[in-house]
Symmetry: C2
Subunit: 630 residues, 2 copies
Amino acid sequence: MGERVHRVVFEPDGRTLFVPDGQTILEAAQRAGVHLNAPCGGKGTCSGCRVIIPHDPPPPTETCLRELSGEEIRRHLRLACQVRVRGDMRVVIPEETRLGDQRILTEGVARAVPLAPNVRKVAVHLPSPSVQDQRADGERLLDGLADEGLADLRLDVKVIRELPARLRDLEFHPAAVVIGRDVVHLDRATSADACYGIAFDVGTTTLVGYLVDLTTGRQAAVASRANPQAAYGDDVIARIEFCGRQRDGARTLHGLVVGALNEIIAEVCRKAAIRPSVIYEATVVGNTTMNHLLLRLPVEGIARAPFVAASASAHEVPSKDLGLRMHPRGRVYTAPLIASFVGADTVGVILATGLHEDDRLRLAIDIGTNGEIVLGTRSRLLACSTAAGPAFEGARIRYGMRAATGAIDRVDLEGERLALHTIDDAPPVGLCGTGLIDAVAALLEAGIVSRSGLMRGGAGAAAVTEPRPSESGAVAPALAQRVVGADGETGFILAGADETQTGHPVLLTQRDVREVQLAKGAIAAGIVMMLEEFGARVQDVQEVLLAGAFGNYLRPERALAIGLLPPLPTARVRFVGNAAGAGARMLLASRGLRRVADDLSRGVEHVELSQRPEFQARFAEAMFFPVPGP
Amino acid sequence: MGERVHRVVFEPDGRTLFVPDGQTILEAAQRAGVHLNAPCGGKGTCSGCRVIIPHDPPPPTETCLRELSGEEIRRHLRLACQVRVRGDMRVVIPEETRLGDQRILTEGVARAVPLAPNVRKVAVHLPSPSVQDQRADGERLLDGLADEGLADLRLDVKVIRELPARLRDLEFHPAAVVIGRDVVHLDRATSADACYGIAFDVGTTTLVGYLVDLTTGRQAAVASRANPQAAYGDDVIARIEFCGRQRDGARTLHGLVVGALNEIIAEVCRKAAIRPSVIYEATVVGNTTMNHLLLRLPVEGIARAPFVAASASAHEVPSKDLGLRMHPRGRVYTAPLIASFVGADTVGVILATGLHEDDRLRLAIDIGTNGEIVLGTRSRLLACSTAAGPAFEGARIRYGMRAATGAIDRVDLEGERLALHTIDDAPPVGLCGTGLIDAVAALLEAGIVSRSGLMRGGAGAAAVTEPRPSESGAVAPALAQRVVGADGETGFILAGADETQTGHPVLLTQRDVREVQLAKGAIAAGIVMMLEEFGARVQDVQEVLLAGAFGNYLRPERALAIGLLPPLPTARVRFVGNAAGAGARMLLASRGLRRVADDLSRGVEHVELSQRPEFQARFAEAMFFPVPGP
C-alpha cells in the first residue's frame, strides 16, 4: 500500500506540492524550497511561520492560541509548523512570512535574523475607477495592498490629501511605502527596489551610522563622526549640567547631534549613490542621556538622585520632528532603555550577542564613555553602568584620536623595541582606543609602567620610589631612554617627531596611564560587583564578550593584560565589535525584535553601583594593574 | 442540604458577594447591583462584560475565544457572562467594564448605548520616585494607569517632553486624559470630572454641535449655525465647482466651516459654563463633500464621473490640524462614508435608528440638502442619495430661514383661515423647514395649490388653465384673496406686513412651491427606485423614519400630504429628529460603535440613481402632489 499524499497549493505564486499525510506545512515547504520565516526551526516559539488557510482551517493548536491573537485566528491564520496536512489544501503565504534565499542580515557581529523590516515598499497594480467600481481612492489602495498580503494598513489624512493626484500621475501603478501599519508615501513602481534604512549608534563620544538596503538586508555603507556635543562636556553628567546651567542648552545639544547625524546620512548616501529620500526609517540605540537629548526629552532627572529618566520606552517619531534629513515622512525608532544609566545601547548589545537566549553564564562589556556590563543567562540578566570615561574613545588622552588614518591601533613589544601599526599604514598621528590599550599593556610588560601605574623613567625621569614588579628585571635601555619629561609630566615617546605626519612626537603620558586606570578600574570593579550580585565566581563565566565602537580589532589578551577583565583563559574572551550598533541594525531588519527589546527593557535587572558602599573600595583595588602574566 | 455558595470579591472596590454554585459572574454582579457593561444582556455577543480573573482563570469558552484577543486571554480576561462561579474567587472589573447607574446616553432620538467613550480622564496616585523605585516618569504613569484598568496605553514623545515637570507640579497625583490608547494630557486631579466631547453634524446648509459630558453621557448644551460655505454655492456640486474654479477655494471653504464650528464650541461652552480646553474629542458626521472639505481632502473626484471620493474611511486627526479650538491635544474623529454621495451622516442615521439590527423592513429618509435614503433589514441595507436641494433647510425659499425665533414652524388650515405658529411665539420673520412643508400641505388642502404645483389665484392672480383637483370645491374667498402678484410672480401671504417683526409680509411664492416639488420629488423618486432595487413593495415597509436637522417636530401626516412619502398608514411613519447628529453623539459616547460604523461603511450597498435611465421618468412623476386625502 502506498503512502497517502495530498495536493497543497501555495499562494500567491501557485506552487503545487504533493505532501505525505501528516507532514506539517512547514516541513513540506522546506523540502520543496519554499522559504518561510521560521527562525525557531519549527518549535512553535517564534510565531514567524504564519500562513493563512482560507478554507476549512484546522482548529488552532495550543501553540497557535498562545502565539496568535484572537483576531488572527479568526482571519484563519495558523502557524505552518503546527498544521499537519490531512487533505488537499490551499495555503496563502503572507508577505511577512515569505523569505527570499539571501534575505538574511549577515554583516558584522549581528546574529543572523530573518529580514522582516518595519518598512516595506510594494508595487501594486490597481484597477482604474469606473462607474462599476466607485471605491474611494484610499480604499482602492488599501484593498490592493491587502491583496499583496499587507492587510490592516492605515492611511493618514496627510497622505490622502495628495492621494488622488498622485494615483493618477502614477496611472494607478504605485510603489507604496509602508512603515509599520501606515502607508506614508507613493513612489514610482520602478523605484520599488529603492528602500533603505539607517541604524544609528549614538554614543557620548562617537556616532556611527549603518545604511541598510531593506530589500536585501545588506549593509550598503557606514560612516561615523565624533559627537560634537563633546564641546560641552565629555561625559553625560557634564552635558546634563550644561543643560541645567544654560538656557536652551538642551536645544543646542539636540541641534549638534542632529547635525552630525545628517552629515552621516549625507555621507552614506554619497557612498551608496542613493538619495536620502529613499531612507524611510532610522533606528537609534544610545545611552539614556543621548536618547533623551535626541528626542528632546528633559534630562535633568537623570543626573540627580533618585536618577529618574523621563521615559524608558521605545518611541517612534516622525523624522521631521527631530530634523533628520531622510524621507520627510520617514520615522525614527528609538530603542527602549533599561535604566537611567543603562540605555538602549545595552539593549542593542544584548540583542546582538544573544545573552537573553543562552543557558550559559555570559558576560558582555560595552566599552564606551560609560562602560555598560551585562551578566547572566536566558533566565536572569543583570546590567549596570560604570563611569569609565571616554579614554578608550581617544578623549582626555594627550595624543588620543578616533580610529582614523594614522591612528596607532596596535603596539607590540618585540624584544627591546616597540612595533607600531597604524591605520592605513600611514605615518602616526595619534593613538586610538585599541592602540592605547596595547601601548599600556606593552609598557607594563616592558616594566616601564608599574602595577600601581607609575611610569618608570630613564634619564631625567621622576624618581621612582615604588618597588618594581618582582619578576621584572632591568628595563631595556632602548626603551627606558624614551621616557622623557614633557610639559612638566612624564611621557613615553611612541613615535618621534621625525616619524610622524604632524612633526610632533606621539607620547603616552603618565596622565594617560592614569586615565586608563580609572576607566578599566571602573569596569573591572563593576564586573566584580555584578558577579557578587549574581552569586557567581569569575571562573563560572563561560564567555566574555568585549564590545565597543573601537574602529579596529581589540585583542582579548591585551584586555586581560591591563586588568580590564578578571583573570580568565583568553579562549573565553571574544571581541564582538560595535555590538550596540549591530543591535540597531537588527532592529532595522526585523520589526519582531522590537517586542523582544521591550521585554528586555522591562525584564533586565538594573544594579545601581553608586548606591553600594563597597563600590569605592572595589574601584580602588581595581585600578591596580595585574602582575604581568607569563 | 443547603445550596453551595462561594465568596466572590469584586475589585477595585472590594465588594464581597456570596454566590450560588454555577451562577455566572454577570448574574451574580447584576443581582448585587454591581453594574457591568453588558448591552447584549449576557448573550455573549457584545464582549462588553470583560473582567479579569487574576488567579486560576477558567479555560476560555468558545465565546471568549471568539470575542477576546489572544493577548486578552493571556492577560486573564474573560467575559463575565461566560464564567460560572465554582469556588471562591477574586474578580477585577476594568474601568471600561464598570457602568455607573446613570451612565446611559438617553437624550434625543439616539438609542441608549452604554457609556464607554473613547476619552477617559482618570485620577491616579503615583508613588514618588526613590532609589528603591527608579522607574522612569513615563513608565511610572503608565503603570499607575494600568493599575486602574487602563492597560496598553502609549505616551507620545510630545507629552513626555512636559511630563517630568508636570508630574512634580501635580505632586504625582494627576488626572490623566486618555484618548483611545494615548495619554494626551495631565490635568489636576480635582478636574477629573471635567471631561467633555462635542458631536458635530456638519450639513451642507446647517451645522449643529452637541456638547456631551463624557463622565455621565448627558448632553450639556447644543448650538447651531448656518453653514457659511453657502455663500459659495448652496449645494455640494456648486461648492466643488467653486474649489475647481478658484485657487485656494478649498482652503476658503475649510476656513469657513471651521470658523463656524469654533463659534458653536464657544457657544456651548458658554451655555454649559466650561472651558473649551476640557473638550477632548469631537465626532463628526457629514456628507462626503462636507467631510472632505473639513479634512482638507481633494473634492474634485466627487463631482465628476465616475464619482470617486478621496477616502471613505473614518479618520482621527489632531484638533490642531483642523484648527478647532478645543483642547490643543484633542482629537477629531470623522465617521466613515458609504459612497461619494452617501456620507457619514447616513452612517449616523443608521446607527441612531438601528436599521442594521432589525429584522423588519424599514426605511429611513434623512432630509437635508441631499436627501439620503436607507432601506433594508439586518441582513441587507441599501442606501442612495438624491439631490433634494436645501429648500427644507430654508435656502432658495423667498422667506426661508433656519428654525430660530420667529420662524413659522407650523401652519394649519382651520376652516377658512390658516393658523400659524412661530418659534418662541414671536411675531413671524420667515418660514423654516417644517413650516414650509406645513404651508404647502395646507394650501394643497385648501385648493390654492394644484396637484401639478400651480398656485391658484384670487383677484389679480395669474390665469389658471389647469383642471382643479376634482374633490375640491371652490376656494374659500378669504384665502383666495391672499394670493397676490409680487415682483412678477404669484405668492400667498402667510403673514401680512402688519403682523411681522420685519414690517414685510411673509409669502409662500410659486417658485417656493416649485422648489418643494423638486425636493420632495427627488426623494419620492429615490424611494420608488430603492424599493424596486430591494424587490419590495411600498406596503412591505414596516416603518418609515423621517430624519433631518429640522429644529421642530415634522408631522408625518404632512410629509404624506405633500407626497414626500409614498402612501402608507400614518402610524407607520415616525419623525426621529436629527438622527445623523444623534449618531454622532452615540459615536462620542461609545467607542465600540466605531467598529460598527466601519462595518456599515463597507457593508451597506450604494445605489447610484443617476446611472439609471428610469430615474428621470420617476422623478418627473414624483413631482406631482398627491390627491389630497380624506
